[in-house]
Symmetry: C2
Subunit: 190 residues, 2 copies
């Protein structure tokens, strides 16, 4: 079945695929660029697409004794406090798994023997190529936290089941955290 799914994804369907006729970057930011595309649809008509081009990031689920490690921080995008798995943007040339392991140690003071892929999660595929690579930590050991300068965070360990409930009630909203917590609950249910 995986091979069939792979084919559904990897073989462009001429009845569905769009071709970019021309592309512009009307705004360049420090975090993302704005791209606007004129595309040619399968029926030959033209369409307009707006993409935020972003380098992506990585996050990591650290689970111990049925509890998941979440970082409490302020998010300007949401205008409120959030609870999120440890995560950050990819450094130049950094692979996602290395980034995930680095963020885990920097933000929480834990070290993992290794990390395993949960999902390459594209957060808002309709308008951005942003991808957060979500991993789970295997073999957690305590070390020492050293957050980035200018990063203000607080660590909490919460029961996975309560986090899942808080997601269903709409309290916890961060997509990488939802992906990580659902995955942790699935593994606990197995």
């Amino acid at each position: 079945m995986i091979d069939e799914i792979r084919e559904l994804l990897e073989v462009p369907d001429p009845a569905l695929a769009e071709r970019v006729a021309s592309s512009e970057r009307p705004w360049h930011g420090r975090i993302y660029d704005v791209e606007t595309d004129d595309v040619i649809c399968p029926d030959g008509s033209h369409g307009y697409r707006e993409i935020a081009r972003h380098h992506g990031g990585a996050g990591v689920a650290a689970v111990k004794d049925g509890k998941i490690c979440l970082v409490r921080q302020w998010r300007v995008s949401a205008g409120r406090m959030t609870l999120e798995i440890p995560a950050g943007r990819l450094d130049e040339g950094e692979t996602p798994d290395v980034c995930a392991a680095r963020e885990l140690t920097e933000e929480t003071g834990y070290v993992a023997d290794r990390v395993e892929l949960v999902a390459h999660s594209m957060g808002a595929i309709g308008f951005t190529d942003e991808c957060t690579h979500v991993y789970r930590a295997i073999g957690l050991r305590k070390s020492e936290a050293h957050p980035d300068e200018g990063e203000f965070v607080g660590i909490v360990w919460l029961p996975v089941d309560d986090v899942v409930e808080a997601i269903h009630t709409g309290l916890i909203r961060d997509s990488k955290t939802i992906v990580a917590a659902f995955d942790a609950a699935l593994r606990a249910a197995d």
Copy 2:
């Protein structure tokens, strides 16, 4: 525990909260606006934040006989075919649950008795307020599909277990779909 989580989220922590000192909108799009903020951090230093302001959307998990309904389409952001739960942007003044039910019928031809919240999923909280409200359909009935003009999609029903495997191997990458599929797998495991 939910009340404790609520307090962690709803009470701004003065040691973490940032205050927006000034805000600009240097680019206006049809799908999102660029906002740049000068913020004051908890220690009094200034920070720069870049937000893509977006109206959000809604998606719906339709599951029947262990299979989940996915829409095969082309995404310019990813430059490839994707498999996603039925979803779309919120119409002006439309509530997310109504949007989810509408997209289900338009894209797949199925009608739901009602939809239930899975998660308010903020896809890339670090740089956008975009939120995809993910629901699951209860009481599925066959009706007739009528996709938007200029929308080219194909419907497939895939076993939830295979979709979860395709997520872990990185084949399926759309975050709302990951959230919906993990939730469906969790309910099947219960």
